[in-house]
Every structure is written in structure tokens, then in C-alpha cells.
């Protein structure tokens, strides 16, 4: 029997600063076979670890069409993430996964898609956005709204630029600076700037708990049905595989039953939106 807790070594191929506290890591499993067979779907996460520091659950931000490597976008928040931020090209990390369920993809084909991301919440959605853009003609109108705290906190600015050539992209910051000429206000305010069909449409919402809570309310007001609002929940995780108990809410483990849930499911889950 294979031991579910034993990670595989992966090499850091590239590290890119996205902001002052967030970096993009391009990783490749050392064992070519493991890399080749590393199949994941947008919305899934891995446990990335450094021995001596621990492990942290991180969403896979690359899209599955990238075969030779995968990417994680990591914000420096504590022990493990801080250590990762100090690591460089060719350093070795340990990864297990992919874990968790994933965003619906085939199920939402031919529908209009609305993405609403706050802060680091763009990381998991980026995987899905790029996957949808790779199959652009299989989806209806796609729009993406992204909000960050300040202009310095915006991640994937180059890609937002690229996407805006093919889909409608709106960005905002909670607090601007003298150079910022764009929208100011929380991401929810962007919803008033768009025309969204809500009948045959699905909304994906990712971000910090407080943002999710308010944005979902706004989206419901627009007319989206509860089952067509899709989000991810964040909880403390120590195993990622339904054993340590930390991520339990209601009858679910966020790590194995989630992290992706519809608003319909969330309404039935006590403690979900806190």
C-alpha cells in the first residue's frame, strides 16, 4: 500500500515576483514519470512542503494544458510560505496531491461565465480562466472582475492585460495611489459596471472569506441562481486528505469534499461563510 503522506520531490524551475509578498513558482517533479502522470483539474490544490518547516495547501494556478511543469502562486503568510519565498531556482521542495474536488468545466460549457476574484483568490481561478481560454469557443461570454487591496497587491497584471484582449476584464483596488487611474472600490462595486446574463450563466467567486460573503450577496441580487454561484472555501489544513480534522465544517471536509462548493451547498453548511 502506498503511504498517502509521503510527498514527491519537485524542483523549482523558476521563481517570479508577482508582488512584494507573492511569488509564482514553476515546479517540476524530479521523477519524469510522476510529472507526466500529474493530472489535475482547475480548483485542485497540492500540499507543498519543506522538511523542517512543514506543509501548506496551495491551489494549482497553472492550467492542466501545461504538461511539463505546474505553477503555484504563493503569498508569504507564515512559516512554510516564508521559507518557500527564500528558495531559489533549482532548490527542491516536496509535493503531494493533487487533492480536492475541482471547478465544474464540462458542465458549464456553452454558458456565460463571470469570474470575480479578490487578492490571492485569482490564483485558483487563473487555472480555470486559462483552461477556458484554451477552449474559448466552447463557452459563452466570459467576463473577469479582479480586485486587490492596492495597485502593489495586484497579481498576474501581465496576464490580466493579455486576457483583456479576448474577454472583458475589469480591475479595481480598495485604495489607489497617485499613479493609479483605474477603478477604486471593493471588487463587488465592479458588478454595477457589467452586463451579466444570469439565466444561462455561472459565476465563480474566489477570495478572502469576507469578500466572498459580500460578493455572493451582490451576485444573488443580480439574479444568479444559488447553484450557479461557485466558490472555494479556505480552512486550516494539516493533511489535505480527510484525516486531521482541521478543515471540517458541517458534514464536509473542505480538503476532500471541497474546496469548491456551490452557494447552494454552502447555504446548507453551518459556519461556511464566516
Amino acid at each position: 500500500m502506498e503511504n498517502s503522506y509521503i510527498p514527491n520531490s519537485a524542483v523549482i524551475n523558476e521563481v517570479r515576483n508577482l508582488t512584494y509578498d507573492t511569488k509564482l513558482f514553476k515546479l517540476q517533479f524530479k521523477d519524469k514519470n510522476i510529472q507526466k502522470n500529474f493530472d489535475y483539474k482547475p480548483g485542485q490544490f497540492v500540499e507543498i512542503g519543506v522538511f523542517g518547516y512543514g506543509e501548506a495547501p496551495i491551489s494549482i494556478t497553472s492550467s492542466p494544458s501545461t504538461k511539463d511543469y505546474f505553477e503555484l502562486c504563493i503569498k508569504n503568510m507564515g512559516n512554510v510560505t516564508n521559507k518557500l519565498h527564500q528558495m531559489k531556482k533549482n532548490d527542491m521542495v516536496y509535493v503531494r496531491g493533487p487533492y480536492g474536488n475541482s471547478f465544474p468545466f464540462d458542465e458549464v460549457k456553452n454558458k456565460d461565465i463571470l469570474f470575480v476574484a479578490g487578492g490571492i483568490g485569482l490564483a485558483p481561478l487563473r487555472s480555470l480562466i486559462n483552461e477556458m481560454l484554451a477552449h474559448r469557443n466552447e463557452f459563452g461570454k466570459i467576463q473577469a472582475l479582479y480586485g486587490a487591496r492596492t495597485p502593489e497587491d495586484m497579481i498576474f497584471t501581465d496576464e490580466l492585460e493579455e486576457w483583456s484582449k479576448r474577454i472583458k476584464v475589469l480591475t479595481t483596488v480598495d485604495k489607489g495611489d497617485f499613479r493609479w487611474k483605474g477603478n477604486v472600490g471593493v471588487v463587488g462595486t465592479l458588478l454595477t459596471n457589467i452586463k451579466a446574463e444570469t439565466e444561462n450563466a455561472v459565476a465563480f467567486v474566489c477570495g478572502p472569506p469576507i469578500m466572498i460573503k459580500f460578493v455572493i450577496q451582490d451576485i444573488v441580487k443580480l439574479g444568479f441562481r444559488d447553484e450557479n454561484i461557485i466558490t472555494t472555501l479556505e480552512r486550516k489544513m494539516q493533511c489535505g486528505i480527510g484525516k486531521c480534522g482541521h478543515c471540517n465544517i458541517g458534514g464536509k471536509y473542505v480538503c476532500t469534499d471541497g474546496p469548491v462548493f456551490t452557494y447552494k451547498q454552502i447555504k446548507e453548511l453551518p459556519e461556511a461563510l464566516q
Binding site: M1, E2, N3, S4, Y5, I6, S9, F51, G52, Y53, G54, E55, M77, G78, T81, M92, Y94, P209, E234, R235, K236, Q238, C239, I241, G242, K243, C244, G245, H246, N248, I249, G250, G251, T256, P270, E271, Q274
Partner: protein
């Protein structure tokens, strides 16, 4: 065909088993009992009431070394020693049956499963309910999942087997064959009772009840109830390194949803900041979420949490208050 074993032969059979197995059994520890790896079989006490810690201290030990690392080399600690749990009560055996559901679920917990499958469980039916336990109310007084079951019938234990492993264990001279079933059915002996019927449905209506605030005010958030609970399995992981920072161990230790930082994430947000939310979580996990998932309450009624709670929170009392009895 049936079997029995003379009480005075227990020491001899354990001595024999110790050649091939680690034997874990209840022994006296001042006024209480504990499970211990036996060195001297004379110390085993089979007519005990309850042990301080349940058998999980061997099956899910804390700390448990998960991985040893040394630069880029990682090894998994191996322990293939076979263990016999000799003299565990039906409540504790049933708790192991419940742990199995979790540890053998979608992802397997290799550490638990290796130990579990290297173990033989010799249960002894319980004759000494204490003032805390209520296994009969939970239905966990019925022994299930044992390899061998011993029932006190006076000078002998009546012997039943529940598996091949059990069969093999009793095929020796210490066990006498008898023609008729001499088993004396145990009389119900729990003093404490609890009504658990439909409690999952009741809990669904009580999420915003004021009882959680009241309990939260009383609870110290110490986690003792979880640590002594035979079915509480939650843990935390910690890497321990030596001064070189290159060599060390990844360990897991018991954790409890009652401890303040159980649901606290990096950056400081705590999903269960309030003690009332944490007390509630433990109840809901045991009596609703576990029930929904596996069709069993995660409580076997061993009473250890009642006995150890420093402020006298009594689960049977809490449940009856919630029911409005």
C-alpha cells in the same frame, strides 16, 4: 465446539504470547488503570473499570513519527512488531471499529492501518461499569470486531473467536474445549443512561441555541475530553529539526477542536474564535456529522470525557438539556 480458559492460566498464555507479540493490557496505576506494554503478566488486571487513556494511544500514538528526513533522503519509520491488545472492553473495541471508518476512508492512513493489521484484539466483556460510563445507551456494550472475546464465568473465562487470527490464538493447551455454551450473558450494569434517539435530527435544529454560549462560558477549552476520547482522531503536524536544520522528523500529535487555534489560519483569522463555537463543533462532529457520514454516533459511552473534565461538563447531561428532557 466452545472453549474456555482457567483464570489462573491467563498469566501463562500471556507469557507465551509475549514471545511473538508486544502485549498491551490494562494494569493498575495508583487508583486507576492504564493500558501498558506488558513486561510482567502478573500485573494484568482484567476486571478493571476503565483505563485513563483508550487503546488509541497505541494505534494513533502521539507523537507519531511520520517521516524521517536527512538532507534529501526521506525514510518512513517501520514497525512490524505484532501487538496483542489483551483485555480491552467492548466500548473500546467499538471505538476502534469507528476509527477504522475514518482511517480506511477514501485516503488510507498508512500508519494506523499498518498497526491495526499487525494487531490482535482479545476483548474481555466488562463487569465493572463505573459511575461515568453509559455504553449500553450507545449500543457499544455489544462486543463487535474482536478476534477473541473472553467472558467471565467464575473460575474461567468463556472464549469466543471472531476471526481467523482469533482462531489461531486459541489453538493451544491453555484453552479447553467444552461441549456446551457455558457463557453467562452479562447483565446490564451501566448506572448512567443517555437517550440518543433521533439526536442527529434534534441537533440540526439547535445550531443557534443559547446552550452553546452557556457551555462555552463553562468550558476551559483544555481539550482533555478529546485526548481521552477513544474516537477523537484529529491531529496536527509538526516538523522537528536538529541544529543542522537538515535532519529531523515530521511528527503528528493529537489535537482538539476545543483548543483555541484549531481553526486559526495564517494571518490570524480564527474560524472558531469563540469557545462556544468550539464546544459546539465537538458535539456536532460526534453526533451529527459523523452520524451522517457513517451512520454511527462517534460516541461509545466510555465516560472518560465526563471523568476527566476539570469543570464537570457531563455529555449525558448536556445532551439531555439539548433534548429538553
Amino acid at each position: 465446539m466452545f472453549r474456555k480458559i482457567k483464570k489462573e492460566n491467563i498469566v501463562k498464555i500471556v507469557e507465551k504470547l509475549m514471545k511473538d507479540y508486544d502485549v498491551v493490557a490494562p494494569v493498575r496505576n495508583e487508583k486507576r488503570f492504564v493500558f501498558e506494554k506488558i513486561k510482567n503478566p502478573e500485573k494484568i488486571v482484567l476486571d478493571y473499570d476503565s483505563t485513563i487513556l483508550p487503546p488509541k494511544k497505541f494505534l494513533l500514538p502521539s507523537p507519531e513519527i511520520m517521516i524521517r528526513f536527512d538532507n534529501d533522503k526521506i525514510t518512513i519509520p517501520e514497525n512490524n512488531k505484532k501487538t496483542i491488545f489483551f483485555g480491552i472492553h467492548p466500548c473500546d473495541m467499538n471505538a476502534i471499529n469507528l476509527l477504522d471508518k475514518v482511517e480506511y476512508d477514501e485516503y488510507k492512513d498508512d500508519y494506523y492501518i499498518k498497526k491495526r493489521e499487525n494487531s490482535v484484539f482479545v476483548c474481555v466483556d466488562c463487569t465493572k461499569a463505573n459511575e461515568y460510563c453509559f455504553c449500553e445507551s450507545m449500543g457499544s456494550d455489544k462486543p463487535e470486531g474482536y478476534d477473541v472475546l473472553l467472558t467471565d464465568i467464575g473460575d474461567y473465562y468463556f472464549v469466543e473467536t471472531g476471526s481467523r487470527k482469533g482462531e489461531e490464538l486459541v489453538e493451544n493447551g491453555f484453552f479447553e474445549n467444552v461441549d456446551k455454551n457455558e457463557k453467562i450473558e452479562r447483565k446490564k450494569n451501566c448506572k448512567r443512561k443517555m437517550n440518543i434517539e433521533n439526536f442527529d435530527k434534534i441537533l440540526k435544529q439547535k445550531f443557534d441555541d443559547k446552550i452553546w454560549e452557556q457551555l462555552g462560558d463553562k468550558c476551559l477549552g483544555c481539550g482533555s475530553c478529546s485526548f481521552v476520547c477513544p474516537t477523537c482522531y484529529c491531529y496536527s503536524v509538526k516538523d522537528i529539526v536538529d541544529l543542522s536544520l537538515k535532519k529531523g522528523e515530521r511528527r503528528r500529535v493529537w489535537d482538539s477542536c476545543l483548543l483555541v487555534d484549531f481553526a486559526k489560519v495564517a494571518g490570524g483569522h480564527n474560524f472558531r474564535e469563540k469557545r462556544s463555537a468550539r464546544v459546539k463543533q465537538r458535539m456536532y462532529h460526534k453526533e451529527l456529522y459523523f452520524f451522517e457520514k457513517y451512520n454511527y454516533s462517534a460516541c461509545v459511552g466510555c465516560g472518560r470525557c465526563i471523568r476527566e473534565c476539570p469543570v464537570g461538563i457531563d455529555v449525558t447531561d448536556v445532551i439531555s438539556k439539548i433534548r429538553g428532557d
